[in-house]
Symmetry: C2
Subunit: 494 residues, 2 copies
């Protein structure tokens, strides 16, 4: 393939090509964008914008500033929206990171899309088992490793580059493009819901479609995502003695909070994955025959999934059951226990107060408020049977609803067409096991149609050690976004 280099915008190299691959637009323009903007990914990854760690809050503010600055630099009308403060467990409050909005074009004859993304990240420490420094982007064999590489910094940059390409080529955007980029996604998008409600009739009034690229493909085949699970995240705190006790001196005379906590956690889910909390499973929408057939057609190899995660056996041994339990059934995960001894080595302590962290993934037709009551009532009833003098306190700290779109909507047809242009294959229509709570909020508040257009790979390691995005996905993903904007501009008005 011959490329004629056109222009270099910062580090983004943009090509105009005369051959017919990879992107052929109906108006005859052949366009390929190679967004090798590794330098900027590197700068973004270097910012430890961990929204769950309040000691990193200044990094997070800086990350929002960098995002706003970049959007301004390529010609956007940018605002940084104050969304208030966050109350900490100790009662004090700190400023939430501002939400960055940007607008490119306001041609009323064109459709308007709004791209949502986030630039905060999950916690990561080298000693968790990273092969590289999680905050130093490292290129190994075509993969860019770093916390936030796939979730969600590089996809946000790919969207920025998409707009940048049009600007660099002096070509009008085929649709008006808006951005809404937040910095609290990993801890529940604090403040964003209220902001969406407040700007429903202003910022969102002319938006036709919302695009979210905060998810990944299921396999090597590109995918469009039409649903996500929600998440109810619980703290179960058992408090006993007024301070930690020596297990030799006191062991045998007190009912230990840790024993109580283990006892109630063990009643959440059976070894075979059956949720034991009454009412949870009963609420779940029935799997239809049509859905079963869709799942059956999806490209998904159980063996490579097993290899990827390094397990000899999965919870279910057939594709449909596995995908259904990944996407459209709830599950319980116990993440860990705060307040107990968690360091290497030995310590003979009876911890005085221990807090379990667990979460239940939400699917249609579950209701977080109901789940909160079901879990709280159930754990208290299980705890009561122990006849312990310790105190149990159950709180739901995140209650995010699931989201489900209609994959037959024209927006998904545009997505399919864009995938076919760039990758020459049909995308899989998939759901996401994880949660992007804001999808549901966008749907509930704005009533706009939403599509999830992932560019991350199935093996990117989101929330895990050694998170990465491949250079291939990053660059082809940028092309996908360019093609998608074109396809949206070609959609029939309805």
């Amino acid at each position: 393939m011959q490329h004629n280099q056109l222009q270099i915008v910062e580090n983004a190299v943009v090509y105009l090509s005369s051959d017919k691959t990879p992107l052929f637009f109906s108006d005859g323009l052949v366009l390929s964008a190679q967004a090798v903007d590794e330098e900027r990914v590197l700068q973004w990854i270097a910012v430890e914008s961990d929204s769950s760690d309040v000691t990193k809050r200044s990094d997070l503010h800086r990350m929002m500033d960098m995002t706003a600055e970049k959007l301004r630099l390529i010609g956007g009308s940018v605002e940084m929206v104050d969304v208030g403060t966050q109350t900490l467990p100790n009662g004090s409050s700190i400023a939430l990171p501002k939400v960055v909005t940007a607008r490119f074009g306001e041609d009323p004859s064109k459709r308007t899309v709004c791209v949502y993304g986030h630039v905060d990240v999950q916690p990561a420490k080298k000693e968790d088992g990273w092969a590289t420094d999680p905050y130093e982007l490292t290129d190994i064999d075509g993969n860019l490793y770093g916390r936030g590489a796939s979730d969600n910094k590089a996809p946000v940059l790919a969207w920025i580059h998409t707009v940048e390409v049009y600007k660099a080529l002096n070509i009008d955007l085929p649709v008006n493009v808006k951005f809404i980029i937040e910095g609290m996604e990993e801890t529940g998008s604090n403040g964003l819901d209220d902001m969406i409600v407040a700007q429903k009739d202003s910022f969102f009034s002319d938006v036709d479609y919302i695009i979210i690229s905060d998810c990944v493909w299921l396999s090597k085949r590109p995918a469009l995502t039409y649903g996500t699970r929600g998440n109810c995240y619980f703290f179960a705190e058992v408090e006993g003695p007024k301070k930690d006790l020596h297990s030799g001196v006191y062991g045998g005379t007190v009912m230990e909070p840790m024993t109580d906590l283990i006892g109630i956690l063990d009643k959440l889910i059976s070894p075979s994955g059956k949720i034991l909390i009454p009412g949870i499973r009963e609420a779940v929408a029935h799997l239809s025959d049509e859905e079963w057939k869709m799942y059956q057609d999806i490209e998904f190899d159980l063996e490579s999934y097993k290899r990827e995660i390094g397990l000899s056996q999965l919870m279910y041994s057939n594709k449909v059951d596995l995908l259904a339990h990944r996407w459209r059934h709830p599950t319980v995960s116990i993440h860990g226990i705060e307040g107990a001894f968690s360091s290497p080595g030995t310590k003979t302590v009876i911890p005085a107060k221990v807090i379990a962290k667990f979460s239940i993934r939400q699917v249609p037709n579950m209701d977080p408020a109901m789940v909160e009551k079901q879990v709280t009532d159930y754990l208290h009833s299980v705890f009561a049977k122990r006849k312990s003098p310790n105190k149990l306190n159950v709180t739901m700290v995140i209650g995010a609803k699931p989201w489900l779109a209609d994959p037959k909507h024209p927006l998904y047809e545009a997505g399919k067409a864009a995938v076919k242009r760039v990758f020459a294959v049909e995308p899989d229509l998939i759901r996401e096991g994880g949660t992007i709570p804001i999808a549901r909020s966008f749907q509930d508040v704005t009533g706009k149609s939403i599509i999830m257009l992932p560019i991350g790979g199935f093996d990117d390691g989101l929330h895990s050690q050694n998170e990465k995005i491949s250079r291939y996905n990053y660059m082809e993903g940028t092309k996908l976004f360019i093609a998608f904007l074109h396809e949206v501009s070609q959609m029939e008005k309805h």
Copy 2:
């Protein structure tokens, strides 16, 4: 009481008094030692000699040097005995702290006692909930707060001051006194057993009695301790996926190591404190009527015990059952889980490898080797029922035997007499729920009689936040040691 100040040795102020309290020796000498050596306690507490943390190893070496230097300064023949190296989990090895031995007097016509103590400490961090810096001795209302204050730095200093008092007064020690001070007690006295075996016929050959002051009173009444529980400390590791997984993306498709681990931990002990591991309870020595009667006579108030630890209800509601389960029945404590999410806040992770730390207190007639097999077999059988593809690995990392002495031995009569001299009360004869493994080793290897002569208070908070020793116990304890040496010198040869 009139005191004539005699001499100041460093910071130890020694008095000779003409009235008859508090110490009246049969040879007419009236002696009172007021060991207000707070400055030296402060210096010792300031050394973070945490033996469980290899990054603090240089502090620990310094602590041993300071101990040796002090013993030399007051005229002891001091040796620092190399006890080899410690192999770390990563396979590397580091030097163990040297064991400090010292000798004062070698008069063959006198008895020889050997004082054992340790100057390493448990981990402590301000953020664990300490009101003061754990490594900065803080005097509040007559209590000296700091990690290691009671366990075991101040008692070791009190013994040193005991010898120092005689020296300061230019009075011959009534018995020959040896010291053996180690720096690995809190992690299992690594290297000490071999050293005791090696020096059985040299250092220990002329020792008549071994004295250990590494424990505390049961109430405000002074106590002599004639037994300790042992401890078998286990790691139960469940390993699943090759790396941590996002609980949204993978939850529901894999059997989570944390769920498996919780499931097996919950099978260790019932809510009412019954150990569920087959064979453990069956091995325990029967509680005799005589023992029951002894327990019944001990000064112990359940209500103040409850208040001290801040619980409304204990595992047993009568004194004898409670004391029996504190001292002479085994128990299981779950200390915590390594590898899971343990920080404040939320993280949606499926931890790939989690390691539970739990321990089982050992009593006569349990055998750690048997317990290791019982626990390992049982957990594997419980785990097998889960049909999980994850891997379970159970290891016993500490296997310390219990120790039991005959409280009718003349050594205990000497102890009772010394307590009566200083405190004008009969001591309680008690056992200790915690473990001083070296007591058992001394007994097994040297065959010498052992007495535990505690000076720490019942509420000193060993291994806990806000550890302290009261100024009263520290000073009267020094007097107790002086009186005890005198009483030992008066024991009939047998």
